[in-house]
Amino acid sequence: MRRFRALRIPLVVVGAVFLCAQMSAELTVRACRRTNEGGGRGLRRPRTVLSLFIGRLEELVGDVLLLKADNCFHGQTSLLGRTRVGECHQAHSHHEHACGPGGGGSHDHDHEHCCDGHGEPAHDHHADGAGHEGGGALSYEHFLYRQYLKVAPTAHVHLGRHEEIVPWLYASVRLNAGNERAAVVAAYWLDGQLDRPREAERVLRAALAVRPSSWRLRAELGWLHYNEGRFGQALRQCESAIRLFEPSTDEAQADGASAALDLAGLWRLASACHEQLGDLGGAAACAEKVAEILPESAAARERLHELRARLGGEAGAEAGGPGSSSGRP
């Protein structure tokens, strides 16, 4: 023990910094959190040995690490740096769901983050000076800032290799399995980009064990099953998600349009599942729901007509045999 006496002051300081970090993490997470915890309904938090000692801190650290993953993706290390990247981020609709059936027309896609993952480096306007005032200033203050940017570049550069954010996502979902957003993001990357569907499913099921009434998690699981060809399971998850659906209370998505898009997505998935299972009637009924929710969506109307046409064709074939003609007016 005597050998460790020298560490007592650093340990006290580290402990104090840790507690301050916990408080600031709480504030940060509250400011950045977009998901609704559901008011605690159906929320079952796992009790690990670690959580017995540090309680909520485990979850907070997990939530912070999700921000870390997001920052890492944008080429930042510090959480505070997020505020600089965040301005660019807000311009996009940051949505990590995979491109499902029906194409990308149902809601805005974030072409930076989705699918092909292309991303030419955005102009590092922060390098010109904060506030976007351009690069003409020659004061010592600006000189100092430019020098700082040489060791801490703020360029909005996306990672070329998606594996790089996996460690942070892993830590996030392990520390806070109930973080819905972390589980959804992790599942998206694992299934959609890194070809790890089993791992993605495990993450989603672990999250569902804590949040059994989360429609987002069930929807994500439904997409996963669909992509794996397990249409029956996909349909069950999708129907559960529809039953549990409620609009997000996140301010950024408080408008009705986002809620409508989410719900329409669920019905579209259900329609696709019915179609794959050979139930055209069910598929059409779901497609009709989509068209009701999004009356101005040409893609939704097209899909409905196509399904009805196929349904009508089948019905005609069953009723009149070859040569008979029947169809919907």
Binding site: R3, F4, A6, L7, I9, P10, V12, V13, V14, A16, V17, C72, G75, Q76, T77, S78, L80, G81, R84, G129, A130, G131, E133, S139, Y140, E141, L144, Y145, Q147, Y148, K150, V151, A152, P153, V157, L159, R161, E163, E164, V166, P167, W168, Y170, A186, L190, L194, R196, E199, V203
Partner: protein, 264 residues
């Protein structure tokens, strides 16, 4: 006798500090902690996905920076207060050396201490990274030198605080708090200032110009995201070195002024 000593007295004081550091075994404990942390981080199976390097580079840089900061401040900030408390200063200051030599000798000893710590911790990080297959090239050297320069500045700062404050614990705490606050928020002063106007803008600009910029010497971002052959230009190195040594000189002068008239 006085003329030809040429830093001999300072080196003698520094040597004693280094001996104490090695015999106190702080360094070994921290090296072991870094090995344990990094080893654990490198051995975790992240969903069966391999190939991630950025997190390991970032984690090793952060841990190295954190522990060397603790060592640098912990070693230097308690030198003078503890010697005053334990009266070990008296036989030393009774020798024919000036107070400046004593202060500078303590500074050199602290520099030697954190250099040794930095080398050990970087070696541990390089070992873990090499075992994991993470590529390390010029970035490693640059990160090492940048951190070293930052620690020179921090050590001088902590020494100055310790000569003004008599209590060891207060000295250590103040130095660490000042370091983390300045490092974390100084860069935002510039951003705030660009949005301000009038007297506020001038005050923020002045503050940004005057406060020591410890964030210049945090290579985490560079280590994590820069291309592996990313080199700073010679003029940039000149600036960073000059900045660090310049502020170190100012802090050392402050330490000497505070210590000069101190009654032992």
């Amino acid at each position: 006798m006085l003329a030809d000593r040429s830093l001999r007295a300072e080196r003698a004081i520094a040597r004693v500090m280094l001996i104490e550091l090695f015999r106190r075994k702080d360094l070994y404990v921290l090296g072991l902690l870094v090995l344990v942390f990094l080893g654990a981080a490198a051995s975790i199976d992240f969903f069966g996905v391999g190939g991630a390097e950025v997190y390991l580079r970032e984690l090793s840089t952060t841990l190295t920076l954190l522990f060397t900061v603790i060592i640098a401040v912990g070693v230097v900030a308690r030198q003078i207060p503890r010697e005053l408390e334990r009266k070990t200063l008296m036989p030393i200051l009774a020798k024919p050396l000036s107070r400046w030599q004593f202060v500078f000798g303590k500074f050199l000893g602290a520099v030697a201490s954190f250099t040794a710590a930095l080398a050990v911790l970087w070696a541990c990080s390089a070992l873990v990274s090499a075992l994991k297959g993470v590529r390390l090239t010029g970035l490693l050297v640059q990160g090492f030198v940048l951190q070293w320069l930052g620690l020179v500045m921090l050590t001088a700062f902590a020494l100055m605080v310790s000569t003004a404050v008599s209590e060891t614990a207060v000295s250590v705490t103040l130095s660490l708090l000042a370091y983390f606050l300045l490092k974390g928020f100084t860069s935002n002063i510039h951003i705030l200032g660009s949005g301000a106007s009038g007297v506020g803008a001038s005050a923020l600009a002045l503050a940004y110009t005057v406060v020591p910029h410890f964030e210049f010497y945090d290579p985490t971002q560079m280590m994590a995201f820069a291309p592996l052959q990313h080199w700073l230009r010679p003029l940039d190195w000149l600036f960073f070195a000059g900045y660090a040594f310049g502020y170190a000189a100012i802090f050392l002068a402050g330490a000497w002024l505070a210590f000069r008239r101190r009654r032992i």
